[in-house]
Amino acid sequence: MNLYTYASPANFYHLAGKLIPWFAWGAGLLTVWGLYISFFLAPTDFQQSEAYRIIFIHVPAAWMSMFIYLVMAFWGAIGLAFNTRLSFMMARALAPTGALFTFIALWTGALWGKPMWGAWWVWDARLTSELILLFLYVGIIALWAAIDDVKRGDRAGSLLTLIGAINVPIIYFSVKWWNTLHQGSSINLTKAPSMAAIMLQGMLVMAIAAWLYTIAVALVRVRRIILERERQTDWAKAILEAE
């Protein structure tokens, strides 16, 4: 079992400990740079005036919410296929941050939508799938919370993540299609306004910052989970005693 030794929780615990500061500092610096671009370099949009500056967090948060879900599904599938404990722990460590970004995407979406379309909430495909994604995150976290047995929880949560991963694209397209049929809501959200290169750059910097932040937070969380699950082993005992 080669995979098993490489993915050994003990090694990973120490590796993660070394990596966390790098990711955390990287996230902090990039956030500062991203915020500088968002507020001082990016020009006023001629259509949306200053309100568009919300997209510098809205779009990265929406990207992250979906990306984290896919990564969770990936780790879950790896765990189910190869029975690697660490992949389940990664999936668990990512979920709260994924839910957080989903919430941020919804919140900022509402605050952006109000001045732009005159409504806090519209049932368009992206907002609706984001809402369903939040429900999925909450469901997965609730399932983990309800199952005391670690092994069962890991596998059950991963199966739910997988079936959700199949379902989210279907939900997106069904809502999108549903909207094109309902003539009542005439708001067209799919038309992207022409975007200045500097705006795109700001969004990308913020997205990378969010990405590094997610990695840092997930590593902190996975270290805690590892320690909890491995507390019977000698190396974990040594760590606990040293502190």
């Binding site: 005036s49 200053e50 309100a51 967090i57 941020i104 919140w107 320690l227 507390r231 005693e241």
Partner: protein
């Protein structure tokens, strides 16, 4: 530079509430997550240590 003054900056051409509402809530969310994470970390370590002491007796 887009802004003539600080009050211009906070005003955001009338969209201040929306823009700053977004950024403030995002910052608060991340702050809460980091604090909770820190606290959960120390709690877990303390609990595990306590259990270890108990088991060794």
């Amino acid at each position: 530079m887009e802004w003539a003054s600080w009050s211009d900056f906070w005003h955001m051409a009338g969209y201040g509430l929306y823009v700053w509402g977004s950024y403030a809530v995002t910052a608060a969310c991340i702050l809460v997550e980091v604090i909770l994470l820190k606290r959960a970390g120390t709690d877990t370590r303390r609990r595990l240590k306590r259990m270890q002491q108990w088991e060794e007796q």
